[in-house]
Homo-oligomer: 433 residues x 2
Amino acid sequence: MGINFSNFLSSKSKNKRMLEFQDLNHIDGVSISTLSANLYNNKRDDLVMFYFRDGANHASVYTQSKIISENIKWNLNQKSKKIYSLLVNTRNANCFTGKRGYRSLEKIAETISGMLSEKQKIDEDFPKKIKPKEIIFGCTGTIGEIFPEDKIKDKIPELVEKIKYTQNKYIWMKAALGIMTTDTQPKLAMEECLIGNSEIKLFGIAKGSGMIQPNMATTLGYIFTDADISNEILKKLLKKNISTTFNAITCDGDTSTNDMVSIFATGKVKHSKINNINDQRIRAFEEALNKVLLNLAKRVVADGEGASKFITINIMNCKTESDARKIAFSIANSPLVKTAITGGDPNWGRIIMALGKADVSINFEKLSIKFGNINIVQNGKINPNYNEDEASEYMKNDNIEINIDIFSGSKNFTTYTMDLTKKYIDINSDYRS
Amino acid sequence: MGINFSNFLSSKSKNKRMLEFQDLNHIDGVSISTLSANLYNNKRDDLVMFYFRDGANHASVYTQSKIISENIKWNLNQKSKKIYSLLVNTRNANCFTGKRGYRSLEKIAETISGMLSEKQKIDEDFPKKIKPKEIIFGCTGTIGEIFPEDKIKDKIPELVEKIKYTQNKYIWMKAALGIMTTDTQPKLAMEECLIGNSEIKLFGIAKGSGMIQPNMATTLGYIFTDADISNEILKKLLKKNISTTFNAITCDGDTSTNDMVSIFATGKVKHSKINNINDQRIRAFEEALNKVLLNLAKRVVADGEGASKFITINIMNCKTESDARKIAFSIANSPLVKTAITGGDPNWGRIIMALGKADVSINFEKLSIKFGNINIVQNGKINPNYNEDEASEYMKNDNIEINIDIFSGSKNFTTYTMDLTKKYIDINSDYRS
């Protein structure tokens, strides 16, 4: 279970990487429906609806930006114990759209609530009236444009009609494709684990690209499980595991107004009740959740705008994790480090520069820097046996690993990023059209 | 006096801007000598010596990086009241070169001190023995390579021999060219002012490019004046005026280990003594100093690696200057904002994104955003009369001005930057050679 990420990234085909996808199949309590509301003025799917017929426990984490989109404001205002639907649109961020943008979501939520309540009456023995506040939204796309309320609302009947109760790999693929913006590849991941003796599934889809560009992108990640875990525990698990996964990646250091990662638990698999996050019986679940999040996060980076190389930066033995993070991101966000890697240049001087500007006090006399297993700096000095030809050879890989040991404590942090290429400039300097 | 910077930047020739240079001429007490020590293995000048035959009062500001080059360590250790020589080499940063790099400077300083003391014996009525600690260094170039001590030391006799006591525009131009790395244009500026009734000159040269790339670049700025001002007042003036000039520019957000801006005052013009920084008689001098620094700083940005557009970002009416700075740099360092400008796209959504990630609390209901004079956002809403065609037309200019009013206080900050182009990638992904 779980693909070997480094394998697919080091595949020979540089430009068109041989992406292997896991086949996501049925997960009890989740239904998916996708279609085109013509938001892009072409026929691509741009609306994806997730429907939880018996509701789902849930937790979400959102962007750190001081400006948040109207859909995130909406989501934060809904305090429902269970969520019945998540609607994701791609094309319009519904950000900086003011009260009008918020009211559009209200109207759409009312329409969805009406249609799904009707569906409950037809399909269920004990129909439930689904309330607007039991519906949340994911939005991505251009900031500041009027939210296409009518175009979306008009498609709700068709979306609800298309709902099927049995999911297969095709519908998951359609969902992953339907939330893409400038992504070149859909992003899916899955894990299975045990809680007690019960087999549990965790499926996830994500979109990224640009990390994060408000013109046409945002990071969205949605995890679905059939486990029965409370909102409170889901929240704790998500917060804990986001910091080493979706919050450990960076493409260009920019931050979207719309970032959102959510987990939904349908509770369809019965298992012994989990009462708190320290319960040993959810360790395997947490591990699986971390794997799904990390797998998706890495896919976001690997497909970052214009990426030609995948970069892992391991910062080891700092005094605090915060120090390790600062150093890792100072390197990962440096255009000079990124462009050196683009050019296959083992220019460790730029790593030194990035260490210097990281705003962490470092004892440079202990410092060790390795590219992969190649020792470059040891005890703060250039390794006398350092062979630049060997390092240049290493830099030809699609997967570059930078290992830095600070030797001042025991805290580590790993960040994932990609190089900075002309293609990034192409994508981002292209006039919105 | 003082060129109109916006004029030269908006000149028609985009790629090869018609740079107008001021002719720097003689300044009493400063001598310049340049030559090639073959550090680049071609014949370009790479060593520039400034010699102050009667010494110069001086002050310097250095990089904020936690890693500083050996020459900056050297300079910080010299507490001499007067400096007799500044030697600048381009090619080797003398950074991460350890004690060996420091000792090389010691040796070179000894050689210079010997040669210049000999020169004093021949030329001066009251010869002075110049000490190694009265000599400082500017270095720029690759990090981590062994400092070419011998190549430089061997050229000191020739450098000293070439010293002429009368300077003209050609020798200033040679000095500005001799400190360049990946700069495409030399950077010179001058102002004149009065202290009391005495005419004072301020000349300056600088190098930048990349701001700041440790592979082959660093910002260096050197100001020379014939005024008679104490070290203490020079220090205060420099610190005060650097924050709105050299510390107000950014190209890629990276920080060099070697940045250095210095002022040298030969005191050859006699004027009424200035006893403290509040003395009204130095206001005109301070203004002239600010103009020279700003002129040079803008030239550094305009010649930033790959720059096709010069961008001015005015942040107005913040609670604190620190808030205004944070917002300005969040916008100026955003790859997404820069690439939108590269593409001529008035993508104000990316400005919103950069405001959101600036880590300053902003009342978005008051916010105003203008590109030039074009009102885009007013009172936190899109201007109903906003015409994107007009904005697109504006974005075709070589000079882009972004004006943002926060309406929460009275503090302003202006930053200068340039766009992010494929040429930046070309320059920085090119393997060192």
